[in-house]
Structure formats: structure tokens, C-alpha cells
């Protein structure tokens, strides 16, 4: 019995609809912010919103929140390594 309940996390349909609404709203926010001409801040805001949207997709649509620890460690760790690589290489180019 225990195994069966652990096997499938059945999410209500409406949860996915709420997730979709939040993603569309965030898209609207990022388009609006882009037309405000905030300069450097607009890049940071755009990336922050893209990061937030991706996290929502990963956790909800891709069910990472329901997976076991190995998934919850492995995937964020790989993404973190990519961010560090991009960050370090970029700063090397920028401040050389």
C-alpha cells in the first residue's frame, strides 16, 4: 500500500492551470518591464523573471518537487555548476 502511494503523485488538474496562469502573468511582467527602458536593471529583471519561470516549470510541470532526494540534489547542482561556469568565464572576459 505504502509503495503504491509513493509511486504516483497525482496532482489536481486545477493546480496545473494555476501554474500556467502564473507563468503567463510573469511573461506579461517581463514584456512590460522591457518597455520601461531601465538600462542595466532591465537585463537583471529579465533574467530573474526567466529564472523564476524556469524554477516553476521544473518544480511543478516536471514534478521535481515530488521526486526523491537524488533528483532534488543532482539537478539543481548541475544547474548551479552551469551558472558558476558562465559567471566565472563572463567575469574573466569582462575584467581581464
Amino acid at each position: 500500500m505504502n509503495h503504491e502511494s509513493a509511486e504516483a503523485h497525482v496532482t489536481p488538474y486545477r493546480t496545473y492551470v494555476y501554474v500556467w496562469i502564473s507563468l503567463v502573468v510573469l511573461t506579461g511582467v517581463t514584456v512590460t518591464v522591457a518597455s520601461l527602458n531601465l538600462g542595466l536593471a532591465s537585463i537583471l529583471v529579465a533574467l530573474a523573471i526567466a529564472g523564476t519561470k524556469s524554477t516553476i516549470v521544473l518544480a511543478q510541470f516536471m514534478h521535481l518537487k515530488n521526486e526523491r532526494g537524488v533528483f532534488k540534489i543532482l539537478i539543481p547542482l548541475a544547474v548551479l555548476i552551469l551558472v558558476v561556469f558562465i559567471g566565472l568565464t563572463f567575469t574573466d572576459v569582462a575584467f581581464r
Binding site: 488538474y13 501554474v19 514584456v31 529579465a46 516549470v57
Partner: protein, 208 residues
């Protein structure tokens, strides 16, 4: 005795599905690093040519970019609903949602076709006479634009083909409420394609 055998079978199946998902995730991580390298190239060239990248982005249709973003987000919703439906053994709803997902992927590609032909019609394509007369940064911007949206477009096309196979498998009951890891893994791939677009969209369409 039979009870014990049955529960072992369930455990066994459970482990297989999880292993299959983990394998899919490892593949997706390699995809993330493939695109990650391109994002790094983009950020360095953009840092070195801010004005040219700004001019290049001015050639983009913000409307079509936003439309395609909403199209892909909606296809991710229908994909997730398709899996949620098969979990509830609702084969009909699952098939419909898969069908919508495939249709939306084609809408995305048709929009992309209009965008690309509009640019090519104005003489903006790799090695074109017009583009070569532009500053170096603009040439780099459009080179990256065609490479990154092109590679992403190939992923959308592959995703549409995989989801079409899934639709056949759901109809044939190969994928059902007891064994749906194939559909889950196809969904993971589809959502990743969506995530890559989530980053491509602001970088190419929303530069100010």
C-alpha cells in the same frame, strides 16, 4: 505468497520508472549544457557589442516573440494535463491533451517560419550582402539568433515527432495508467524545450 509476489512486482516497476526518469534527466542535463555554452557565447558577445545587439534586437517582432512564448507555455500545460489524465486512466482526455500539445508545437514552428522568412526577405541571413555590410556586433547577433532559435526549433520539431509517437502508444494502450513513464519522459523533454525558450525570448526580443 501471491501478495508478496505482487508487491515485489510493484516495487520493481516503481524502481524501473524512477531509473528511467533519472536517465532522462541525465540526458536533459547534457542538453542544458549544450545550450548553456551558446548562452555563454551570447553573453560575452553582447557585453562586447552592446549597441549592435540593441540594433539587432530592434529588428525582432516583440509581438510574435510574446505570442510564441504563450504558445509554448500553453503547450506545457496541455502536456502536464495529458500525464495527469493518464494517471487517472482517462485515455481519451490524455489523447486530446497530447493532440493539443502537438498542434501548439506546430503553431510555434509556423510562427517561427514567418519570422525567419520576414528576416530573410529583408536580406538578413548569414553571409547575405546586406548583413555583411553591417557592424561586426550585428552580424554576431544574427548569427547567434539563427543558431540558437534554429537549434531550439529542431528540438521543437523532434518533440512534436516524439509526442506523435506517444499519441499512437496511448491510443494502442501501450502507455496506460499503470505504465506511463514513456509519456512522462517525453513530457520532461517537452518542458525543457519550453525552459530554453523562456531564456531565449528575453535575450533576443526584449533587449533595451
Amino acid at each position: 505468497m501471491t501478495d508478496a509476489a505482487a508487491s515485489t512486482a510493484i516495487e520493481h516497476h516503481h524502481a524501473d520508472a524512477e531509473g528511467a526518469r533519472l536517465g532522462m534527466w541525465l540526458f536533459l542535463l547534457s542538453e542544458i549544457f549544450l545550450f548553456g555554452g551558446l548562452f555563454l557565447v551570447y553573453s560575452v558577445y553582447r557585453f562586447k557589442n552592446p549597441a549592435d545587439f540593441h540594433a539587432g534586437a530592434a529588428e525582432m517582432s516583440r509581438f510574435l516573440g510574446t505570442l510564441n512564448t504563450v504558445v509554448l507555455l500553453t503547450s506545457s500545460l496541455t502536456m502536464a494535463l495529458s500525464i495527469a489524465a493518464i494517471q487517472r486512466a482517462n485515455r481519451s482526455l490524455s489523447s486530446w491533451m497530447l493532440g493539443f500539445t502537438i498542434a501548439l508545437s506546430l503553431v510555434f514552428l509556423v510562427n517561427k517560419y514567418f519570422e525567419w522568412t520576414a528576416h530573410i526577405g529583408r536580406g538578413i541571413y548569414p553571409n547575405s550582402h546586406y548583413l555583411l555590410s553591417q557592424p561586426k556586433g550585428t552580424i554576431l547577433f544574427f548569427g547567434l539568433y539563427y543558431t540558437m532559435t534554429g537549434l531550439h526549433g529542431v528540438h521543437v520539431l523532434v518533440g512534436a515527432l516524439v509526442l506523435t509517437v506517444m499519441l499512437v502508444l496511448v491510443r494502442k494502450r501501450v502507455v496506460d495508467s499503470k505504465s506511463y513513464v514513456l509519456l512522462e519522459n517525453s513530457g520532461l523533454y517537452w518542458h525543457l524545450v519550453d525552459i530554453i525558450w523562456i531564456f531565449l525570448f528575453p535575450l533576443f526580443y526584449l533587449i533595451t
